[in-house]
Amino acid sequence: MNWHRAGVGLGALVVSVGLTACDLLRVKDPGRYEEEDLLTALEAVGNTAEGNAHKWMNWYVIWQELLGDALNFIGPITYNDEYALIDDGRVDFNTYPVARTPANSRYVAYNFPDGMAESRWLAHKAWEIAELAYEKGDSMEAELDFESSFLAAQIKLGWAFNNMYLGLFSCEGVLGSPDDEGGAEMYLDVQIYDSAASLFTHVIEIMGRVDPFLIEFQDRDYLNAARTGRALMRMLAGDYEGAVADAATVPDGFRYDAILGGSFENWNQMYWRGFQFRYFRLHDWVIPDTLGPTFSGSLPDRWTGLPDRRRQVQYLPKPFFGDRPETILPTKYGGSTSGISMVSAIHARLIEAEAMAMSGNFLGAMTVLDAMRVEVNLPAIPFTPENEVQMLDVLLWERYAWLFVEGWRQPDLHRSGLTRAVFEALNDYDRRGIGRPTKFPGSAREAWLNPLVVNDATQRCHPNA
């Protein structure tokens, strides 16, 4: 053997190895998908965008109904409240005492604003992936224009609901990512409503392009969901005319529910009937009734005293801790897979009634509300409001009853400027309610870690204001 030649050959081998190093250094985790894998998994991509909104709707209700209670009382009302981390400007939701997350488990917390930000990112990513898949022709429906597809409507609807709940929940939030062009500034809730309304509009436009033949086969009514959603956003932004225009197009009987079960059970039902009640005496702040010690069923209608099946509760005489005996648990949701209404014709009718009331048409508003009460076998409200205060009281109470445990009470009180009055009236021995006239503040975590957000609490909404 000529070893000199062998040496040359050896060197050549090394050269070839060096040149192919480009591919050698590519590895893949067989247990994980990468983005290119998802180009052929558009069903999952679309479901992710829509389903995340359902998942967070589940948590949204908990936060609004359970933690909204806590937020309005500074101080330790719970076993886990040692940190008292209620900020002047923002909340570190991951260490927030009632978030049920240990202070050192900062990364897995199911806190709502951060969860919504993550969910928004996923919706955005889903849109990019689906758009790319259509461009590359990897989709089964590649011959179609992406923005004429159910998939586009599905993703955009999930995205829109994402923004809607963020605006309802918090007085501020981010709508982008530091990784996006345009950044991720902190927006106020009114701006977030605008954003959600735009997204709903986009859904309506897409559904207008979808082949009607295909719509017949869909069991998800994205069009009316978007119409109702946009109506709500317009109402919250003060555009009653626009809200009523949208609401009028929503047919009676329409419902779009968060579908729960599987990995995301109805935590409202689970928690309230489980152990969470030990920490929070739910809904004391909205239920002034005195009930018997064995009560279980419908709370009495405020106007007539008749059982109001819109508000199903159970009385629990022995709380876990503290010296207040009463605990009242909602039992609206019957099981762990019970859906939670996100938008429905009820919203549309309530919007119509509110719009009439705001324009001074009290009688018209009451007519709408009374007509709705027939559906739950309740007689008409036995009086007609004589002034705006009375009208607002009726409206908010009916909204509270219809949307019981759906997360609307707190934003309703907030937008009506009634938070402080309602809470201070409930002040008692160990619950020093002050009724913050605001919603949840933005995420301190986002402000710390998002380099595009000016972390200046004085520029943000203040719960203690």
């Binding site: 070893w3 040496g7 060197g11 060096g18 983005e35 389903g51 990995s263 975590r445 972390n455």
Partner: protein, 1011 residues
């Protein structure tokens, strides 16, 4: 994939160019050199001295009688060198003429230092005086004559300053601690240095499995795990070289920031007849009876009349047993002109003192070297080991033997069931019925082609594979109660398959007065290295058996399975040049460039530079008494690659809206992710005094870790809650000293001693832009008004309790929380908002002293002490023991923060720590110090006189009596201050001692003979 890695082609081309340089054949005419090597003082033959003709590859090793033979030495004039540990090297010029046999005898002077000598670098022997770094070497064969080490960790233990190698967890075969130069990374599990066996990357994983789906409580074996380094049979090892940090290990690139340990197995010698060795070992393990049972004031059981009748179920008597040790190794080595061989086979069995726990290891090794021509040789190493460990259930594990042993309540025992009533109702008997096995088949081997066109030019190509298949199984039988399982049993059966493929090419050219320029003398090296690591783990778990008798998964009512996978690839290229500017001054510069699959796709190559200088003062300028003085300095960078898939943005399958398919973010990924880089400056002095009878090595290192890796929190609007980033910086510095002396050297008595000491400290210097402001307000309740007011700010960093300018390895106490009972009987809620700094998890000072005595020609004795100072730990064993026994006097010594004012101490403590208390006692640490001095090794070696050995047909034969880990003096209320809960190094800041079985205490009788 971008072309950024393709720069490798350039380096490869350089290698090719080097490969093309002149290949000249050597003369076929040869001669022979023979002779005898003796100690100058005593005249005793020197055994296993390395004899070498420097300019050739011809080497030999002296035999028992000190004789050697060098055959086939090409005709010419050469320098002949003789090296042997413990002696000053000698060299002389020889002239080889065809067919003539030279006789060259050597008388070696005793030396206490290794300041002169050879090390193997890149297949070549290099004088130590040319090295600008500290490069300690352990001659294992030599060491084992004095200390019959049973495992690799023991081989390393207390021998080299800067290398911490101790047993820390569990019993026989369990995880051990091995690290170099302290702590300087958030990735504690990556602090273990990389291990190479004959140039092949070696799987040294030591973690317990606790994360597989369905597996019940507390890790697979409670945290003890098993250590893959226990696969190594020390009998096969020739020597170990330690590259302590980046200054020395730069050329190992993206895996070398924690140091590199190179293990070289034994070889045969050419033209040597077959030489057999037989080593037999017999002994026992037995722990000290110092288990902390004083918390149980009375051990015994009560009869029907509630009379304490004893005797005891005291763990010091019932839990500690003798553990049998025996081992047999046989080797044969030798060689002809062209082929050398080393073949070994060994089997060992070691039983723990707390049972069930044992290790059975069988190993076979074949090392061959074939010189195919004057310019080409092929080396093959092949080692197979079967290592079966019955892992003790230990650690913070309510199903553990040791934990239940300590916490069994003897007051509730009966004569029939003296070990009942353990932790949460498990008991020792049930814990002992758990069968936990790690059964490993492992093959490690390589083929190495060496092409030497001239004596100054060498090419070496290595292909190596380390292939590990570890079957892990556990059975918790039906009928016994176990925490997390109940009484219906559980079976786990899993596999971990690890393959590490190493490819390495190295070319070295020594040049002398290049272009006729005097100072252009030196050595140029270039090479490439690739490795490919794959590890696949899977496990099935069966639950809810209906009756005893079934131990397989398919008999279970519920079966779970899980799988995990890791893969990492690396390609690196380097070039290095050493300038021999004179006979005393040597300057080396090098650079390595790495591409790694774990780097972000926009990151590109990582370049690691290094430089070192060594200056040996000429003897003419040395002051009286100085025989050597070398000054060295080195600076280098090495890296630590991120986790295998940390860089990838990835998703996993999920469901939404009931059971519709969806995806969730698994990892945020990081396109810019690079390695954690460590830049180390190392300076040192090597001093030899009085003809090298006293040697001192003094080294100072100052390292800065930049781009430290951490799973940093990110804004949720970026799609996830964290991603691995290069965020942080640390410093790590220390001093290492090694003092050795030949104190007495007389024909009938000699005494040599060595003292090693190290000091180390580290600090977090920066969190980068992830540092967070003190921005969270704290509120406290005003007792008078009942209202809460803002009283301060909580430092809300995102680094899980790490703080800038504090040590990385701080031990923190947790927040203390809970309801304290006031005098009025009302619960008052309190919490401490800051974790308390309790001290360091790693010792700041470590030292050892080793003495060897030679009495006459046949008796040697040695003793080694080592010690640590400055580390603390959370002594959960003691804490929980106090809580369970309600030992109030002891509890009063606890943190005074826990003690509210008022009431008598006993009442206060009773309220707080009784079972009914609302105090969350789990968050209350009890801190103890790890400071201790340990009598680590004692041995007496008797060398059978040759006259007797010869009658039995034997050559050198020794009988050794030894003890390991015999005693220690400490200041902790614990069984062993080195004890830890978990096999890995996670949780450094809250380092816990909780029921890890103490380390073995061995007593051995060994007989080694050659024939």
């Amino acid at each position: 994939m971008s072309n950024r890695y393709c720069l490798g082609g350039a380096a490869a081309a350089l290698a090719l160019a080097l490969g093309g340089l002149g290949a000249t054949g050597l003369s076929a005419q040869t001669g022979t050199v023979t002779g005898e090597i003796t100690a100058a003082t005593t005249g005793a033959p020197v055994y296993q001295a390395l004899v070498r003709v420097t300019e050739t590859l011809v080497t030999a090793v002296s035999n028992q009688r000190g004789r050697y033979v060098l055959q086939n030495v090409p005709v010419g004039v050469y320098t002949m060198t003789v090296h042997s540990i413990g002696y000053t090297p000698q060299e002389r010029e020889i002239t080889i003429t065809p067919g003539v046999s030279l006789i060259e005898d050597f008388g070696l002077e005793v030396s206490a230092t290794e300041l002169e000598g050879l090390v193997v670098k890149g297949g070549k022997l290099i004088d130590r005086k040319k090295l600008g770094v500290s490069l300690p070497t352990i001659d294992v064969d030599e060491m084992k004559e004095i200390v019959p080490a049973q495992n690799f960790i023991h081989v390393m233990e207390g021998r080299i300053p800067g290398v911490k190698s101790i047993g820390s967890t569990g019993g026989v075969g369990s995880g051990r601690e091995l690290r170099i130069r302290g702590t300087d990374s958030f990735g504690f599990t990556a602090q273990r240095p990389v291990i190479y066996i004959d140039g092949v990357r070696y799987d040294s994983q030591k973690e317990d499995w606790g994360y597989m789906r369905g597996v019940a409580c507390c890790y697979f074996s409670g945290g003890a795990g098993e250590d893959r380094l226990s696969d190594l049979n020390p009998e096969e090892i020739d020597r170990i070289e330690v590259l302590k940090g980046p200054a020395a290990a730069t050329l190992f690139g993206s895996e070398a920031s924690a140091g590199v340990i190179q293990v070289f197995t034994k070889r045969g010698q050419s033209n040597t007849p077959a030489q057999f060795t037989l080593n037999t070992t017999l002994g026992r393990n037995r722990l000290r009876a110092n288990l902390p049972t004083t918390l149980r004031p009375q051990f015994g059981f009560f009869d029907e009349d509630s009379v304490l009748v004893g005797p005891a179920a005291d763990p010091n008597q019932s839990l500690i047993e003798n553990g049998l040790i025996n081992g047999y190794d046989v080797t044969v080595s030798g060689g002809s002109d062209n082929i050398t061989y080393f073949v070994s086979a060994g089997i060992s069995y070691e039983e723990g003192s707390v049972k069930p726990n044992d290790q059975t290891r069988g190993s076979v090794r074949v090392n061959l070297n074939w010189t195919t021509s004057n310019t080409m040789s092929v080396g093959i190493t092949s080692g197979f080991v079967r290592n079966r460990i019955w892992v003790v259930q230990a650690g913070a594990n309510p199903n553990g033997v040791y934990m239940n042993g300590l916490y069994s309540n003897p007051r509730e025992a009966t004569e029939e069931d003296p070990e009942c009533c353990g932790v949460q109702g498990v008991g020792v008997i049930a814990a002992r019925e758990i069968k936990t096995f790690s059964d490993t088949d492992r093959w490690t081997g390589r083929i190495q082609l060496t092409y030497t066109p001239s004596h100054s030019f060498i090419h070496q190509l290595t292909f190596g594979l380390d292939d590990v298949t570890d079957q892990k199984s556990r059975h918790m039988p039906f009928g016994n109660y176990y925490v997390g399982i109940g009484e219906t049993g559980e079976r786990n059966l899993g596999y971990r398959v690890s393959k590490k493929l190493t490819t390495d090419y190295l070319s070295t050219l020594d040049y002398d007065q290049l272009f006729g320029i005097g100072f252009l003398t030196g050595s140029l090296s270039a090479g490439a290295q690739g490795y490919w690591d794959v590890a696949n783990m899977s496990m099935g778990t069966g639950k809810r058996y209906s009756a005893p008798g079934i131990e397989s998964l398919n008999g279970a009512a519920l079966v779970y399975s899980d799988e995990a996978y890791e893969e990492i690839r690396n390609v690196g290229f380097f070039i290095q040049n050493r300038f021999d500017l004179s006979n005393d001054l040597f300057v080396t510069a090098a650079v390595r460039a790495d591409g790694n699959s774990a780097f972000g796709k926009s990151f590109g190559l990582q370049v690691y530079p290094k430089a070192d200088v060594a200056y040996n003062f000429p003897s003419s300028v040395l002051p009286g008494g100085f025989s050597n003085l070398k000054v060295r300095a080195a600076i280098g960078m090495a890296g630590k690659a991120p986790g295998p898939f940390d860089n990838l943005q990835s998703y996993f399958a999920g469901t939404v809206m009931g059971d519709l398919p969806a995806v969730r973010v698994a990892n945020a990924g990081n396109e810019l992710l690079g390695p954690e880089n460590k830049v180390e400056l190392e300076t040192g002095l090597d001093i030899g005094l009085f003809s090298n009878r006293i040697g001192l090595e003094l080294t100072y290192y100052d390292a800065e870790v930049i781009n430290g890796l951490y799973p940093s929190p990110i804004a949720a609007s970026q799609g996830a809650y964290q991603r691995v980033e290069n965020c942080c910086a640390f410093l790590n510095r220390g001093v290492e000293t090694a003092l050795s002396a030949s104190l007495v050297d007389m024909p009938q008595f000699s005494w040599s001693a060595s003292l090693a000491y190290e000091w180390n400290m580290n600090r977090i210097t920066s969190f980068g832009d992830k540092a967070q402001p003190d921005s969270l307000p704290l509120y406290e309740e005003d007792e008078a008004t009942g209202y809460w007011s803002h009283v301060g700010w909580r430092y809300a960093n995102s680094f899980g309790g790490w703080y800038e300018l504090q040590p990385l390895d701080n031990v923190y106490g947790e927040d203390i929380r809970g309801y304290f009972i006031t005098e009025d009987g009302d619960p008052v809620h309190k919490v401490t908002h800051f974790p308390f700094l309790r001290g360091l998890a790693q010792p700041r000072h470590m030292g050892s002293i080793f003495n060897t005595f030679q009495l006459g020609g046949n008796l040697r004795a040695s003793v080694q002490f080592r010690g640590e100072l400055g580390a603390v730990f959370q002594n959960y064993t003691y804490r929980d023991g106090m809580r369970l026994c309600q030992c109030f006097d002891d509890i009063l010594e606890w943190d005074p923060l826990l003690l509210p004012e008022g009431a008598s101490p006993t009442d206060r403590v009773r309220r707080q720590f009784s079972y009914d208390s609302l105090v969350d006692y789990w968050y209350v640490p009890h801190i103890d110090r790890r400071d201790h001095i340990r009598l680590q090794d004692v041995s007496i070696v008797y060398t059978v006189p040759q006259v007797f050995a010869s009658r039995m047909g034997l050559d050198r034969t020794t009988v050794t009596l030894s003890g390991y880990n015999l005693h220690w003096w400490d200041d902790c209320r614990c069984e062993d201050p080195n004890n830890k809960s978990f096999a890995d190094d996670t949780g450094e800041r809250s380092t816990i001692s909780a029921f890890g079985v103490p380390q073995p205490r061995r007593f051995l009788l060994s007989v080694r003979t050659r024939f």
